[in-house]
């Protein structure tokens, strides 16, 4: 029930809602819980609400940590 899916903000409307794209599908999300988002931000969508913005820099750390690592 705590499933949340990443999607990219494509449009922001005036009433604290936005349009996001998830794998080619467009959905409307409510921004009450993270009002300060920008176009092209990736957010996590849970039950109609964006609950957090994905930190695009921190998202790469797992690859930096493991890709060059020799066992």
């Amino acid at each position: 029930m705590c499933l949340a899916i990443p999607g990219k903000i494509t449009k922001i409307f005036g009433d604290n809602t936005a349009e996001i794209e998830i794998g080619g599908i467009i959905k409307e999300v409510n921004l009450d819980l993270i009002p300060k988002v920008k176009i092209d931000d990736y957010v996590l969508l849970h039950a109609g609400f964006a609950i957090e913005v994905i930190d695009q820099e921190k998202a790469l750390e797992i690859f930096r940590a493991w890709e060059g690592k020799v066992d």
Binding site: L33, A47, A59
Partner: protein
């Protein structure tokens, strides 16, 4: 980056697995306390690829499963009152109450509607102003701010026919009870990623300081889970107990303050009944008196006497004491088509995951 497929990279997964194998010496039990993790672990076959000394145990992380039968009976009683529309997330429809389910009541004529979001429930209230619309407020901290948000919206927009029957729960007190109960030895917690996106990392600090059990807040893709297991094994082998965040792309130590403030504004923390565990002090959320007109407990109902399904061992499964095949009903009397207990109903239930993936 789409933040999904990239975290399913086979080469990196194998690298992490080899590292886990090379540093892991002790026999350990790691518990995940999020139903979405339970499903991700099964779907990706993670239990099977780990060395046998690392045992993954599922805990009480499925909100549908820990919801007490009496709550189902309460909402069914409301659905039978004339002039009510019950709105719910789909997972709740087939959960057995003492003598019925919402699905059965719906087929008998009750107006019960599945919604994807609390916002949809509010919309139904706006479109049906002559009826009382009740939302079943089931969920952990990921979901509770979305409930708080619509209560505030209903207040602002002066919607008079919308209310919530809250059974929302807080996760860390349940982890404390499992540690206190000592029925199962837990060497590390795989902490819930999306609950933690809201609450942050601090609410788990007591687990590392008082109980010396390592915690890692984990994402939901295979690389996230493997890296979290690596981080837990490393802590255990180093003799450390800290709260670490693997899911750093989403979880901040302080959590989501706006969401937390909405929860604090609308809800009060109360003692709450957890199916299979019992009453846990300060582990539930009830609508504050200030927002009492949005609390569905303002309606009087007669609730039938609670009856537990005979032989169902959901409680022990939820506490991680037994695995589903140890229950004599599992796979015989109790199947996803004919579930006896909630752990087989919900797609995130441990019994349903065992049935589907083993």
């Amino acid at each position: 980056m789409r933040y999904v497929d990239e975290y399913r990279n086979k080469e990196i997964a194998q690298k992490i697995l080899r590292q886990i194998k090379s540093i892991s010496k002790k026999k350990i039990n790691l518990m995940e306390v999020c139903g979405t993790h339970t499903v991700a672990i099964f779907r990706n076959g993670i239990r099977k690829i780990l060395a046998p000394n690392i045992n993954l145990i599922s805990g009480p992380g499925c909100p549908v499963c820990v919801t007490p039968i009496s709550y189902i009976d309460e909402i069914i009683a409301l659905s039978k009152k004339g002039n009510f529309i019950i709105t719910t997330f789909g997972d709740m429809m087939r959960v057995p109450g003492s003598t019925s389910t919402l699905e059965k009541e719906k087929s008998d004529g009750a107006d019960i509607r599945i919604v994807y979001s609390t916002l949809d429930a509010l919309k139904i209230a706006q479109d049906n102003s002559s009826k009382e619309v009740v939302f079943m407020g089931v969920g952990f901290e990921t979901t509770s701010p979305t409930i708080a948000s619509v209560v505030l919206k209903a207040q602002k927009e002066k919607i008079k026919n919308f209310s919530v029957l809250s059974v929302a729960k807080i996760m860390p007190p349940a982890m404390k009870i499992l540690l206190e109960g000592k029925e199962v030895n837990i060497d590390g917690f795989i902490c819930p990623g999306h609950v933690s996106a809201i609450i942050g990392s601090k609410p788990y600090n007591f687990i590392t300081t008082q109980y010396k059990v390592p915690c890692v807040i984990c994402g939901f893709e295979p690389l996230d889970i493997l890296q979290s297991i690596y981080m837990l094994v490393k802590q255990i082998e180093d003799g450390r107990a800290e709260v670490e965040i693997q899911y750093e792309r989403v979880v901040k130590p302080e959590g989501n303050k706006i969401a937390l403030n909405k929860i604090k504004e609308v809800f009060k923390v109360i003692d709450s009944d957890w199916r299979g565990i019992g009453n846990i002090s300060l582990s539930g959320l009830e609508i504050k008196d200030k927002y009492g007109k949005f609390n569905a407990r303002k309606f009087e109902v007669e609730i039938e006497e609670t009856k537990e399904p005979k032989g169902c061992r959901c409680g022990e499964v939820l506490r991680g004491v037994i695995i589903p095949p140890e229950c004599s009903l599992f796979g015989k009397v109790c199947t996803p088509e004919n579930p006896q207990g909630a752990c087989m109903v919900s797609t995130e239930g441990t019994c349903a995951a065992y049935y589907k993936y083993n």
